[in-house]
């Protein structure tokens, strides 16, 4: 069971990353591209955190009566990654808003048409 569980979480990680990358590359809408980017970044959370889990373990807060804790280090790293993700998203959205004001559109094709 646990072997299947492991591979299942890996499978979903890969799926999320591929889906995010696909949305980012295939879609022409600048906002949708950013959502694809955000999806791709979230796939990393699972890559780091799922392997840190120990079945029967508990959250890494030391307390009486617990012996087995899940690995805290990936949690710390992903906390940083989440923050970086939202920072990038905020900046990206600000750029999209400005592009919309400057070009009147957030569709890639229309923007390229209006460039020259």
């Amino acid at each position: 069971m646990s072997a299947i569980a492991g591979h299942f979480s890996y499978g979903i990680t890969v799926f999320l990353m591929v889906a995010g990358l696909y949305i980012l590359m295939a879609r022409a809408n600048l906002l949708k591209k950013l959502i694809g980017l955000a999806l791709m970044q979230t796939s990393v959370y699972l890559l780091y955190i799922a392997p840190g889990k120990l079945i029967g373990g508990t959250a890494p807060i030391i307390a009486e009566g617990f012996e087995r804790y899940s690995n805290p280090l990936p949690h710390v790293l992903i906390l940083t990654a989440i923050v970086v993700g939202v920072a990038t998203l905020a900046l990206g959205l600000a750029l999209v808003v400005r592009i919309r004001e400057a070009y009147g559109s957030i569709e890639e094709d229309e923007i390229l048409e209006r460039e020259d």
Binding site: M17, L21, L24, L30, K33, L34, L37, M40, Q41, V44, L47, Y48, P51, P74, L77, T80, A81, V84, A87, T88, L91, G92, L95, V96, R98, I99, A102, Y103, I111, E115
Partner: protein
């Protein structure tokens, strides 16, 4: 205090940024930025002298010994890049004052200086750290700052350029994190030196290979490895001049450093270069960059874009040395980081002066007609820097190309030597277009005479031009440092 130089190297510009925001005064912002840039240069030089001779300085942040805590590690390679970054910063920062006045709204200046400090802190942080995840964090600081700096350009195209760079850059950073994640899962550590030791006895090589692929593509996006360079020309062309000068001289170079570090010091070079087709891939991609991007530059009218494309080609020279994977090749690569950095920095700084005097961000080959008479010093500087770009003997560009050719000959790759020569001839052709317009074409009769760039800008520009020549003769730092770094990477005694 001397013991804490590694931390101060990064913390000084990092503290300067919030200070600038708190005080919110453009003069203060400019002074702080300049002072911090000079301080960083002094620290970098001190570190370089202390880390020379094959030694390394290790600094445990928070007094937590690695691999528990984050380690700063200065050795021959990182100190070389630290000097390169802070040297460029200390030329560009004092020059920014006048250049920005013409290109960016005044109420945004203090923000731009804060971003510049953050970008500097990020680039230095990437270079000095010995921790894989810390690289990612500082990569993001420098990248986010760069996106903002580029978006502050005058034209609306700057916004689109910044957006595209942001997309590709973030994909690159995410790939890097995925690669590091795989390595972490296989080794349990994030410290680069510890990781290298533990990778030797890893249970399964498949995650390591995948990590290598992700890190290569991720950092390749950041360093504009052909064909992942699409973000670069527009980003360089539409950013404010001082930003272009700084980013072009440093941004991609630091990414090259990360790649070198991983290829030679984290992964087993025997695996990277013997078992996988890394050498062939890098040589082919580099040659393609050298030829294709130079040809594009040849047909470009906008001068900033012309030199941006030339940067893609020059990055090809840098990555060529990685593909050659021998002492001469790597020495050429590493010294080209510096030599091309000062050359391209000089060119973009000079272009900033032209932009200021012409009053338009769009400078084309046709619009600089008569520059030789209108701005004689600037035009002369462009010629010298152009010669260095081509690689004429007596300039910085020649030295690193010489080592690259030696490296290719050591491998018996004659066709690569031919490619370097062809690419240099194309470089001559596109530089000639600029020179011809500046000196030989008669200016239109009705043209207004505009004078030389302001003294403050000119001093910075000509200082960098002088470096192009200086490093063409005095190579004890550029080649000496690079060779020491190459020895370090190849694991051979100096």
């Amino acid at each position: 205090m001397v013991d804490h130089l590694p931390a101060l190297q990064v913390v000084l510009p990092l503290i300067a940024a919030p200070l600038i925001i708190l005080v919110r005064h453009r003069g203060f912002a400019w002074l702080t930025t300049t002072a911090v840039s000079y301080a960083c240069l002094v620290i970098a030089i001190l570190l370089a002298t202390r880390a020379g001779g094959g030694g390394a300085i290790s600094y445990a942040i928070g007094s937590w010994q690695p691999p528990l805590g984050i380690e700063y590690r200065v050795d021959a390679l990182s100190s070389f890049v630290l000097v390169l970054v802070s040297l460029t910063a200390s030329f560009v920062a004092p020059y920014a004052h006048r250049s920005l006045g013409a290109e960016v709204a005044r109420d945004r200046h203090y923000i731009l200086y804060a971003m510049y400090c953050l970008c500097l802190a990020g680039l230095l942080g990437i270079t000095i750290t010995g921790d894989a995840f810390n690289i990612f964090v500082f990569l993001e600081i420098s990248s986010l700052a760069m996106y903002v700096l580029i978006a502050l350009g005058q034209s609306r195209k700057a916004l689109v350029a910044a957006y595209q760079y942001m997309l590709m850059g973030t994909v690159g950073a995410t790939f890097y994190v995925i690669g590091v994640g795989l390595l972490y899962l296989m080794t349990g550590t994030l410290n680069l030196a510890d990781m290298a030791i533990r990778l030797q006895s890893v249970g399964d090589v498949r995650p390591v290979f995948a990590a290598l692929a992700f890190i290569t593509v991720g950092i390749g996006l950041k360093l504009a490895l052909f064909p992942l360079h699409q973000w670069l020309p527009n980003a360089y062309a539409y950013a404010p001049s001082m930003v272009t000068a700084f980013v072009a001289a440093t941004g991609t170079k630091v990414s090259v450093y990360v790649l070198l570090r991983f290829y030679f010091n984290v992964f087993d070079p025997a695996v990277v270069f013997e078992e996988l087709p890394t050498r062939e891939t890098f040589v082919v991609l580099s040659v393609a960059a050298m030829i294709v991007a130079s040809l594009v530059a040849l047909y470009e009218h906008d001068i900033k874009r012309l030199f941006a494309w030339s940067s893609v080609a020059q990055i090809g020279y840098v990555t060529l040395g990685i593909g050659l994977d021998n002492e001469a090749g790597l020495t050429g690569s590493i010294s080209h980081l510096l030599n091309h950095g000062v050359t391209k920095g000089a060119i973009f700084v000079l272009l900033g002066g032209i932009v200021l005097r012409m009053g338009t961000a769009r400078v084309t080959v046709d619009s600089i007609v008569g520059l030789g008479r209108r701005m004689p010093l600037t035009a002369f500087g462009l010629v010298i820097a152009g010669l260095s770009l081509i690689g004429v003997p007596g300039t910085a560009g020649f030295i690193s190309k010489w080592y690259l050719i030696t490296g290719a000959l050591d491998r018996g790759m004659w066709w690569v030597v031919a490619a370097v020569v062809v690419s240099s001839i194309i470089a001559f052709a596109y530089v000639w277009r600029v020179v011809e317009a500046a000196y030989w074409r008669p200016p239109p009769a009705a043209a207004e005479p505009y004078g030389e760039a302001p003294a403050g800008m000119l001093v910075a520009a000509l200082g960098m031009v002088a470096l192009c020549v200086y490093f063409g003769f005095e190579t004890s730092f550029s080649i000496g440092g690079a060779r020491e770094a190459a020895h370090l990477l190849l694991g051979s005694a100096p």
